[in-house]
Amino acid sequence: MLSQIIEEWPRFATYYNLVFIAKAALTTLALSVLGCVVGSLLGLALAVTRLTHGPALLPLRLLAIGFTELFRRVPFLVTLMLCFFAFQATGADVPLFVVAAVTVTLIAGAFLGEIVRGGLNAVHRNQWEAAAAMNFSLTETIRYVALPQAWRLILPPAFGFFVMFIKDTALASQIGVVELTFVGKVLNNKGFSAALSFGAILIVYFAISYPLARFGARLEARLASPRHRGA
């Protein structure tokens, strides 16, 4: 396997191939960042919806619960296929990247919604009551009281999810989005050995994921520990 890689390497390490891989890495990153940024906003909206009271908003709450439970319990691939065929059924000519971006946003929204909700729930009840006593509205309470205290609890797991998510986007290759995994398949089809083409892709993923994972671990140690130290 190794001699084969050494033999193929000069043909493999061309400028064209490297640019091809670099562009694909950018697509993978763009997909992950887009999913996580829009997903965070969606997640916040879902979490806040589930915090509301009163019978008037009950349908909205049930919708938020249904959304979260559904997308957390359906595999990435199946959600991707559903989105793909749903877009196709509308007849609109939507780029594949958009289909993948919508899918990752839906999934990230569901998972980040749970993370945000966990963080907001950890804010002591007295704080909510004090805010209510001061006649804060729900948005004001979340903006000025809950989030400033909860972000330390939300950020580390959200970051952990983000690192995990970059690797999940590999499945977008299945509908033909030209991201890293897809490029691995293309290189393999062009005649390079599987060890070389998929090995190279594995290394690129590692180069993206490992620094982020390390940073996430540090973030966790710095942000989440005061609570465990009893401060």
Partner: protein
């Protein structure tokens, strides 16, 4: 939009989805048990083993947790034949998922090993427990309580992860959905029904695991 949903057409194919769900569950359970064995061994090495072995385990864990499972299986499935090892798609998926699970479970289980308290062990010694009794009555119940929730959580994640076996042509739940899709072309219908199958499967697993955790291990689990 001219697409009209016709669930009637996929009705006859429903038994295939049940077959697929059964295979998906088998993959999840087998890979989880294999991963648990690897994870236990590696976590024991990381907690008690020699330095050089710990380094090797670290490389394994860091590599497998920082690259996508899908590409790992691609590598196994397409690169190993070059070295003369021919794997069926089922075997490639199973080995890939097991190795991946092993890496994640190492990290989870190390937390369990390290959560045992020195004072508890000393108390057991004072009571005259033998080494075996210490493991049986002090360490294991404690570890089970700490580890059960994250382990069952990971099992649910792995159940969802089995869907990527479809990419390699394994006829588990998603693979059967692809098959039925190419027979009927009722794409939205078949994939929405498949999604419901996964919801039902993971809900059932969650409820069962929560019950086991509560009555057997006295561990508190949320539903997922």
């Amino acid at each position: 939009m001219s697409y009209t949903l016709q669930y009637g057409q996929i009705w006859p194919y429903l038994p295939r989805l049940f077959d697929g769900a059964w295979i998906a569950l088998q993959i999840a359970v087998l890979a989880f048990c294999g991963g648990l064995a690897i994870g236990t061994a590696c976590a024991a090495v990381k907690s008690f083993g020699p330095r050089w072995l710990t380094r090797i385990v670290n490389v394994y864990v860091v590599f497998f947790t920082n690259t996508p499972q899908l590409v790992q299986i691609y590598f196994l499935y397409f690169a190993l034949p070059d070295t003369g090892v021919l794997l069926s798609s089922f075997a490639a998926v199973l080995i890939g998922m097991t190795l991946n699970a092993g890496a994640y479970l190492t990290e989870i289980q190390r937390a369990g090993f390290e959560s045992r308290r020195v004072s508890e062990m000393e108390a057991a010694e004072v009571l005259g427990f033998s080494r075996l009794q210490q493991i049986r009555y002090v360490i294991l119940p404690h570890m089970a309580r700490v580890l059960f929730p994250p382990l069952s959580n990971h099992f649910i994640i792995m159940t969802l992860g089995t869907s990527m076996a479809a990419v390699f042509g394994v006829e588990e739940l998603t693979g059967q959905a692809f098959n039925i899709n190419s027979l009927t072309f009722r794409s939205i219908e078949i994939f929405s029904v498949t999604a419901l199958f996964y919801v039902a499967l993971t809900l059932a697993a969650s409820v069962l695991l929560a019950a086991i955790g509560r009555y057997v291990f006295r561990a508190r689990t949320g539903l997922i």
